[in-house]
């Protein structure tokens, strides 16, 4: 995922904003990311991704965060999730 791509698609919160927020506020729990422009509080699709992001950041990783996620696919899968309420790929 690129820094300017949105992790939270409901509130359009980019990876860059979330990383800056974490660097600034040093959140101890993933749910604190919801204070960053409401990330994760809309459809909840991005919550596992926020948890993953927080985990990577907590382990000291600073570059290539969420690098393993293809944003296009991430967005597509969310469309399915919003229709059915079910995640086709756990952890996405």
């Amino acid at each position: 995922m690129q820094p300017d791509e949105h992790v939270c698609l409901c509130f359009r919160v980019s990876l860059r904003k979330l990383v800056n927020y974490m660097n600034r506020t040093k959140p101890v729990a993933p749910s604190q990311l919801s204070d960053c422009l409401g990330a994760g509080t809309g459809c909840h699709w991005c919550v596992p991704t926020l948890c993953k992001l927080h985990e990577q950041w907590s382990k000291g990783q600073r570059g290539d965060l969420l690098d393993e996620i293809d944003h296009e696919r991430y967005t597509q899968l969310r469309t399915g999730y919003r229709k059915t309420g079910k995640r086709s790929e756990p952890g996405d």
């Binding site: 509130f11 359009r12 040093k26 101890v28 729990a29 993933p30 749910s31 919801s34 422009l37 409401g38 994760g40 509080t41 909840h44 919550v47 926020l50």
Partner: protein
């Protein structure tokens, strides 16, 4: 006695001689260990400093929240009237504050009334009584926290929806323009939309003053005995109770900070 001393000395010398080759290695590994421990110590000290900073931040946040909630704690829920009628009404500056006030009320009013678990006729009767009380509480909250608002906001997005405009905004602190809580949507009717398009349109990133009526929209949701995702479910207030606030917009205009502070002062 003399022999014993000599024997002890011999043992000591032997042990010293025996330990000499490994001693240098031990020293090296000890130094490594010391370095590693020093590094660990530095990291832990840094973490401690961060945690202390975090504690201080949370303490001041708690104090701030207590100050905000103080009038709400004093007022018994049964006597609560629509906030708009009171002289000393608790003014709400964002949906986040509304959430805190509702959570506070829910805690105060419902904490002594646990959900009756189990089955059977008696339990069902108790559950029905609980739901009746809950619905009364919901109506009360919707009256209590409905109020006129005048919030500075920053525009995040604006899209045309038929003749009206759907805007995403974030409430701002009137003092330092700090964002308060998450973004929310408002609808500007065709009259306001026409006015803005005549003035060259709305600008994303621009600060505006939003006035209107805040509707808490607390509602019963039997599908929600618990939050959907712990920590991320901002609609959830308690068992079977959610809220989805909205604002009926009355005006939306550019934020003139100087005249605002005059009015506030």
């Amino acid at each position: 006695m003399h022999h014993r001393c000599l024997f002890s000395l011999l043992i000591l010398c032997l042990s010293l001689v025996a330990s000499t080759p490994t001693h240098a290695q031990d020293q090296v590994s000890d130094q490594d260990r010391i370095k590693a421990l020093e590094q660990q110590n530095r990291e832990l000290s840094e973490q401690l400093a961060q945690k202390l900073q975090e504690i201080e931040r949370l303490k001041s946040q708690i104090q701030d929240l207590r100050k905000r909630l103080a009038p709400g704690l004093e007022a018994p829920a049964q006597d609560a009237r629509p906030a708009t009628t009171g002289q000393e009404e608790q003014s709400i500056d964002s949906f986040s504050t509304l959430r805190l006030l509702l959570e506070n009320d829910y805690f105060n009013d419902m904490r002594d009334t646990p959900w009756p678990e189990g089955s059977g006729r008696e339990v069902r009767t108790q559950q029905n009584a609980y739901l009746k009380a809950l619905n009364r509480w919901i109506s009360l909250m919707n009256r209590k926290w409905q109020q006129k608002i005048r919030w500075p906001v920053i525009l995040q997005d604006a899209r045309v929806r038929g003749k009206s405009l759907s805007c995403t905004v974030i409430a701002l602190d009137p003092v330092d323009a700090r964002p308060l809580g998450e973004p929310f949507s408002i609808t500007l009717d065709d009259r306001m939309a026409r006015r803005f398009s005549a003035q060259g349109g709305l600008r994303v990133g621009q600060e505006y003053i939003l006035t209107g009526m805040l509707n808490p929209r607390v509602y019963y949701d039997q599908e929600r005995p618990e939050p959907v995702v712990e920590g991320f479910d901002r609609k959830f207030l308690g068992r079977f109770v959610c809220f989805n606030p909205s604002i009926t917009v009355q005006s939306f205009s550019l934020w003139n900070k100087e005249s605002s502070s005059d009015e506030d002062g």
